[in-house]
Subunit: 313 residues, 6 copies
């Protein structure tokens, strides 16, 4: 069973909107090696897990839970990169089609017009070429060794693609998120490689993949200096055996150590997204808005829902 808090796993950094950067980042969300796949692959593997290897289950599932928060983070980042994009190339935006103007003229030229026609300048479950995410991406073989190796390939490919995306834009909103994901993908590589190490494999100098010192990217360096590329979190309220695997020397064999924590050391506020009248979003006219507003008032004395903590123990 799953729970949520209204916090992000990494902050959204402010910068100009950039629709083609948003589109490139879609690969990291809805691409074949993006976060929607890692999330679903690890969740399916843990739901279908066989046998008594609880430490392996907890490792796979723990990373899977984190990936939901990555989907949250990357969606918010894409939305932020798109938000206000009608003004991207300088045309001042006005209320919808006042007198028949075309305030979103630039939209039809963007990499994925669906960002403006279908979404409302928000993230979509598609990749950077506009293909919708597919369930066929999820590999869940039921063979532990193979699943671990497949997961290692998945994280490595994800990290490779994000290193490439990093080099495609200097936009700070994009880079803050991509840098975080590069560091976390490296941690996940360590996790699956360590699990295979426990089964006998010695990696020597092969890892990480790509074999590239990502601390040459300043945004990544700052995160790595904080150690997040060697930490893994359980996100499990009632305990986890993850640490039986994720501990000791990192399989990158670079002298670093692996650390298991219950959750990240910090959490970050979720920025609100403003209304976008040109997208009819949220699309409440004054009459409907008045009805909606009424919900927020006059109900101050609501008995608050009994706290989760009260029931789950």
């Amino acid at each position: 069973m799953f729970y949520h808090i209204q916090k992000l796993i990494n902050p959204i950094v402010d910068d100009e909107p950039d629709p083609s950067a948003a589109n490139a980042l879609q690969e990291g969300l809805g691409g074949q090696f993006g976060e929607m796949r890692t999330m679903m692959q690890y969740l399916f593997q843990s739901f279908n897990f066989r046998g008594d290897g609880k430490a392996y289950l907890d490792l796979i599932q723990g990373i899977g839970i984190e990936e939901i928060s990555h989907v949250e983070l990357i969606s918010k980042t894409i939305s932020k990169l798109l938000d206000g994009a009608p003004g991207y190339k300088g045309k001042k935006f006005d209320v919808p089609g006042k007198g028949g103007e075309a305030p979103m003229e630039m939209a039809k030229e963007q990499k994925n017009p669906h960002h403006f026609i279908v979404g409302a300048q928000g993230a979509l479950p598609v990749d950077a070429a506009g293909n919708p995410w597919s369930g066929s991406y999820v590999h869940c073989n039921g063979n532990l060794v193979l699943d671990l190796l497949d997961n290692l390939v998945l994280e490595s490919t994800g990290r490779l693609q994000k290193c490439r995306i990093y080099q495609m834009s200097e936009n700070k909103t994009l880079r803050a998120t991509v840098a975080f994901l590069i560091a976390r993908d490296e941690a996940h590589e360590m996790a699956f490689a360590k699990a295979l190490e426990a089964l006998g494999v010695e990696w020597n100098k092969l890892l990480p993949i790509p074999k590239f010192d990502s601390s040459r990217y300043p945004e990544v360096k700052k995160l790595i200096d904080g150690g997040i590329n060697r930490e893994q979190y359980t996100f499990r309220i009632d305990g986890s055996d993850m640490e039986k695997i994720f501990r000791g020397s990192a399989p990158a064999n670079d002298g670093t150590q692996l650390v298991t924590l219950a959750e990240p050391r910090e959490k970050y506020d979720i920025p609100e997204a403003p209304e976008r009248p040109e997208e009819f979003s949220p699309g409440l006219d004054p009459e409907l808005q008045a009805l909606a507003d009424a919900l927020g008032e006059a109900k101050a004395k609501l008995k608050k829902p009994s706290k989760r903590e009260n029931t789950h123990r």
Copy 2:
């Protein structure tokens, strides 16, 4: 950010394996109106939410969080229905192909042979016709009224399909889960209908869809008698405004009242799935198993990970 506890939202009931019932239930997991879609649709809508209608956001997202637990429940149910299915039509199973026997002969005749060739008698992210789940199922329009109406259609179609699946098998494993989902889909219909009611719509006698007293199904009746078709949970650790909408008389206009809770009143143990040597799952031979077992021993003095509660406040 998301968390997990090792509990199910409804119990897995024991019965014989039944691969074609498992296949029918795949529609409820990976179908166009199944739980993978509800989960992703509501999460995307909440991540892309615009404006200050926090009560609406909390309602949509709260249901979205629940749907992750539904994906967990329905995956475990399908796995349970498939587990041991090589013995389904009476052929005793032996170790893999001893002397070249064909212990899984029945597998190639089943509705979806992928359950045996690709998965290891586990759930797949596909529908009952074998089509992989697609990102195109997710509707996230960014227009609040439209999204609420789309969600109502989604829950209604889900409930309709599950009522039909209920009538396709008397298998208790299947029915326990389907009955629960019928009741919960009805609660979710109430949620989105109530949100539209707040914007002026009067439903009179139209709801629920299908217009069918599901308490005629004994397994559903028991759950409804407990009230779960009129409850909604926030699953939010740090509070929610869901109750501003989900309260008062139900939009079914049948005299019932809506109740918001932090989480379900009960949680249930997650059954372990046994090894399946005929599927090479998990596939550790004695040498590898010895290495894996070593993880469970000699590390008893592990410092336990600091509790989540210590850091997230």
Copy 3:
């Protein structure tokens, strides 16, 4: 602009339900060479037609209009073959899940469970393997010669597949429709081959494809004896140049002559489909039914809509 009359282009013949025959026939509806493709391919070719070859345009479009009626016919046939199928293997059907029975138990074993879970024992826009119809099936090259040749291949493949389906069942409902489509596909082969003949090609003894005397099938023979495999209809209210091409000796070079008509010599009643409570279809409970019924009464004095004929001339 398009119009409709409540008539079928061929009668629906009565026989037992047969879900696997219905599934085979789906290939003729939603398959890569089925009627949905012929309809969309010819309509797209006519909408995108370039140049002044009006006779070619009218030929392609006339056949395209007919294909909409084929989609109508084949959909009704599939629905008829599925209708009441819960009783197919002998289990008496009762009202939905009375006391929790499983009246549709056979449904989950059928070729495409979507016929029962998603549709309500009705036709679906998919092929016989359950794949949804795809826009990529439509070939519209904008090159007249190539489009005609592609259309000839399309009709030939359609006829080949229907000849195979004919041999898969003796069900009269299936065969009446399949026999009609075999005869009409042959007429359409003649049409496109004749258009190519006008551009110089001599077919000698190559046609029809497959090179098989389909009059060996009794149901087809009866139709061919009536001449429908050498007729083509314009379905055009305001005139057509189709006959400039579709006339004279047939390109099968078997002594037959081509005849252009405004529409088929006969039309047939559309059978109503009964309610299916086990599918919650149409799903009106007594309260809603009473509201629906009210529409049929008390409005007897409605001024009838002005006839189409009054306005379109």
Copy 4:
């Protein structure tokens, strides 16, 4: 059974070619909420219709027939927007590759190169991101209430997307068609909402969706002033019960009245598309052209096909 006249439901307005506007408009044709879906969804719902609610059947099917004419209109519009586009950015077009020049150099930079490589500057059955139309878009649940609600969501989403597309271009060809579709989608919203009203729902101020006075768009205003957003046509040659539902006050509750007509008050000529030698379209060289021309001559005395009117009564 279906018929056609060589007229359009709205005129094609002349303006410059604009390939990216054409691409945006593809969403309205082959997108998940475009006209190909509305057409197929309503036709499937009417072919699979169960029970005796003839007024509901006639309403759904009548709109479905209209949608075929919308597919025709929008295809012609896209073709018009693409036609001659090689000259779009100023390069004068010459005969194909004379001396090896590249007259269509701009084509490979356009939003969907398929418009030039696959089509011949004509409409394609794809969406604005280049994904082919899919049969999975068609929802046909067989439950009347649910189908009506799904249809209302479909029309509302279609109208939302077209309002957004309107704001992306001031091209007159695009806007004339989009304005017409916005007005008609609103009429269709009224139709399905009214059908639900007949079953008890009161919409108060929720409709239309998006809640936006589209008469602020001048091209829409002109059409609305003519009343077409409150009319519905039966397109049925032999009568319809549509008017039993589509009459009385509009469910927008804005004082307007619903009017059922046999067909639109006006029809418009279909413009011919010129040859495009750079696309080899239609691609007849002088020899083949002479053969084709022969069809138009010397056959003046053809007995005209007997009029449809002669046989269908």
Copy 5:
């Protein structure tokens, strides 16, 4: 550039037709981890290869060339398993629909009716659930380490699935081919693992995946006894550096040695497939057959094409 000889890489063994075994084997041909993917993945990787690591290129491409022969072998095997299948359940086959009989009645009940409706009892480019093969299966990252690891996962998954398929049927036609593929997949695992070993990885006891002694399958044992699970062939007419990698001790660390050869030690005749009149295949009637036969006669004095050997040296 590629060449062909009319020989198979493994013999087709005779047994009864078995359509559901054929369908299971489709996974090995057109599945996500089947031979169409291995073939295309390795060919794309070798065509896009960067840098001067010629030994790696030759290893990847050599295996890719072999996979074309695997596609040939597995296609012929599926066709053999399907051939004559209308008589599968005992109904004697007669010429097409004599008097309207249904000689292929069993066909519509088979796992994939496309084998009979679309193909003519021949192999299809689809998987065991009927999904068409997709280009998205091909992973070609351009990063050597990652591609090698991805290839190892691909071969391991292929071997796992084939071990499962082996256990689904005792049909000799199926097993001869599956046993061969299990042995070859193991050789390919060795190849990619050895290439990674050259880059520092030590596998210890992890390989092969699945960790299962496939010599317990008698058909596999016979092949392994012949050593083919430790051989790799270059299939390169003008030389290869493959042996620089594929030599020395096997990375399974079981005492075996790797051997590079130019091609397999033996080749096998390709069986002809008989005509299938019930499928209209090849579908030449007596007139057309006479024309076809004329090609084989009276042209005995044809100057034979100059031998390939004459030109390529």
Copy 6:
């Protein structure tokens, strides 16, 4: 069984990188009428071939073998057009993200960002709109006449599309390959048309399709002057009956003659692709490179693999 030599069927000509030309050319590789389809369609048709029409089998398969070499050629061409493209719009490339620069900034604006994010400036198995290749493109009907006609349509459409692509760019790398493919597609049109001629069809002046004298393109003229549009190669090491069909006057009826050869008169070197550090391709750091280099040294005395010629006779 298949073999390979390290030669190309046509040379790669040097010119500037041009990513949008590369993207257009993807249609010729992974499009519905591209070389991946021709290759797979003819191979499947030959593997599933029925009956004793060996000359037809050899014709179809011989062209199929050639198509593998076309896939090789076109892949190398696309890679060449993409290679170094980060400098395409003038920005000097540096090592990956030195100090966080964005050396691949232009990449996210290109037609298909996958060329840079997923591939490493290499060819992908997708079309010009980014859709992955699909197995549903392969038509293999098992009816000889129909398959030949389908193949003729396939080659004609391929030639049409390539003539259009030719007109989209003057880039010499693109044009050298496209010109070759136009000429070869014409040869293949002749082959399938001739096979149909043997069955009685007379084409008169219909061919080639498009009816366009491609020798007006200088690059094509040069090839045609060399005669390659009337040659076909068997690529069969152990003999072929292709010449029984492919001989005599061409079905274009332009006075030319058909010539069957064992293989093309010339072969061309395969250019190496340089490393691309900005893509982490091949991605070996100094440590790994040293290990890789070791393979090339100290093994000079390797016994060379026994020549293919030694074993296959």
